[in-house]
């Protein structure tokens, strides 16, 4: 039976991961994800989880150790943030190219510099094109649920890809929330044991991480792209199973108050919860505004987005990262490009918000919705703006 708990989300994430019985955990502490591996090391030391906890000297080694462990057939887990994730960069596309179903939780934090330990999503956006499945949680319950789902998705034979699960640093990692924690029997019945495609073992010799020269590189890139796109089917199936067993619904894009919405916000991660309060307020005042919470980032949910924005006139994409010198925030440029060839598309505008831990309040969303109302009549001159920046 699931148990109602009140707990810091990072600790709950560690408890949920432990319920998945990972066999190898390798992590290096970095704020704000630290409590996740720290608590897992407690769980291992207390004998509650039979896993190898490898205290590595860097994140580069953490992910390398996970690759080796996963290749040897172990269920492997790591967690990191910001510079730690950046330090893994060399290994990140290798893990996906080798089809190693590692699960990584990212406590999202701004990339340096200036050095800053607080939240935004520039760390994961930096790894956007690496071939991992990438998802965002909005609250503590979703962190627990999606951590467990992640292993099942990653290890499915049609997927065999690493997954990164994103939760905003501090806003989620360090907050105490009421949540429901499934018990071991429930997780065991949901999540089968890991059956690797092949294992590194001298009895049956295989080569992993091979050389790919020009005569095969194209084909291997195409294969990687296809398998990531096709993982969508498995993700949806796993979410359907989750709903059947645990009753909570997961969709690539979660729609809130979208009925008759002329204006819609698109959010990723914890700010969706705050935006929802603003949307509810304004709906009461008769403003036709709705909210789309983008949960699945890779593979990008094109069909869900196109369906969700039907009838919307102005779509405001909220980004928690800058693409310097680019077309706007990363989520904005993907959303706009996804809709570009659609016959009835909304005008798409972009607010870059909450960088490096800058507070994002209900009033800010109210103001942004006000800007969208103006855009119904007069389009803004700039494609994007950094919301609330002083001096403009």
């Amino acid at each position: 039976m699931s148990k109602r708990i009140g707990m810091e989300i990072a600790l709950a994430a560690a408890e949920a991961v432990a319920l998945c019985r990972p066999e190898v955990i390798a992590a290096y502490p970095i704020t704000p994800n630290t409590h996740i591996p720290e608590h897992l090391s407690d769980i291992v030391a207390d004998g509650r989880l039979d896993a190898e906890f490898i205290c590595v000297e860097s994140e580069h080694t953490a992910l390398s150790a996970c690759c080796g462990a996963s290749g040897a057939g172990a269920r492997a887990f790591t967690a990191t943030s910001s510079q730690g994730l950046a330090y893994m960069t060399e290994i990140i596309p290798i893990a996906s190219a080798m089809r190693l179903p590692i699960v990584m939780i990212i406590g999202n934090r701004a990339l340096s510099g200036p050095i800053n330990i607080w939240n935004d999503q520039s760390d994961v956006m930096y790894q956007r094109d690496a071939g991992w499945i990438s998802m965002f949680a909005n609250n503590g319950q979703e962190v627990i649920d999606m951590a467990i789902q992640s292993f099942k998705i990653a290890e499915h034979r049609d997927v065999m890809l690493p997954v990164n699960l994103n939760l905003d640093g501090f806003q989620l990692t360090h907050v105490v929330e009421p949540m429901e924690m499934p018990d071991q029997a429930e997780v065991d019945s949901f999540l089968p044991s890991f059956k690797p495609l092949a294992t590194l073992h001298p009895d049956k010799v295989v080569s992993m991480g091979t050389l790919g020269l020009p005569d095969i590189f194209n084909e291997s890139m195409k294969a990687k792209d296809e398998v990531l796109k096709n993982s969508r089917k498995v993700i949806l199936d796993v979410w359907k199973e989750w709903k059947q067993q645990f009753g909570r619904t997961y969709e690539p894009i979660e729609s809130c108050r979208m009925k008759g919405a002329e204006i819609a916000l698109v959010s990723m991660g914890s700010m969706g919860e705050t935006a929802e309060v603003a949307v509810d307020e304004l709906r009461k005042q008769g403003v036709p505004v709705g909210l789309l919470k983008l949960r699945l980032w890779r593979p990008f949910p094109f069909q869900d987005l196109k369906k969700a924005v039907k009838g919307v006139k102005v779509l405001v994409v909220l980004d928690r990262a800058v693409s310097f010198g680019g077309p706007g925030g990363p989520a904005f440029s993907e959303v706009r490009s996804a809709l570009y060839n659609e016959p009835d598309k909304p005008f798409v505008m972009n607010e870059i918000i909450g960088l490096g831990g800058r507070d994002v309040r209900v009033e800010d969303f109210v103001e942004i919705i006000g800007k969208a109302q103006k855009a119904l009549k007069t389009k803004p001159k700039e494609d994007y703006e950094i919301y609330g920046v002083r001096g403009s």
Binding site: A97, V205, V206, S207, T210, I216, E219, K222, A223
Partner: protein, 97 residues
């Protein structure tokens, strides 16, 4: 001559993660096609010391029953190390025609 099948035909045939499930298959990859220069061994100068055999990074030089050394051109990449190391000057690198 029968056209050699180039594996894999399409992206669908690529093994997951480009894994190789059969040990020793690198032997089938004939790196000789990379070669621009070919080592030519002059037996009249060769003293059968085996230095070329030791230095060849491909391990493609072997000794024949008379004691002389030759390169297996299916694998020789034409790096020229053997010619550089052969102190009696018995190996010349010749451009492939």
């Amino acid at each position: 001559m029968e056209k050699k099948k180039k594996w894999p035909e399409g992206w669908q045939d690529v093994n997951p993660g480009l894994m190789v499930f059969r040990p020793g298959s690198a032997r089938e990859y004939q790196t000789g096609s990379w070669r621009a220069d070919r080592p030519v061994f002059d037996e009249s100068k060769c003293i059968r010391c085996g230095v070329c055999y030791i230095f060849c990074p491909e391990g493609c030089i072997s000794q024949d029953e008379r004691g002389y050394f030759h390169a297996d051109l299916d694998y020789c990449k034409g790096c020229g190390i053997c010619a550089h190391e052969c102190w009696p000057g018995a190996i010349t690198m010749v451009e492939e025609g």
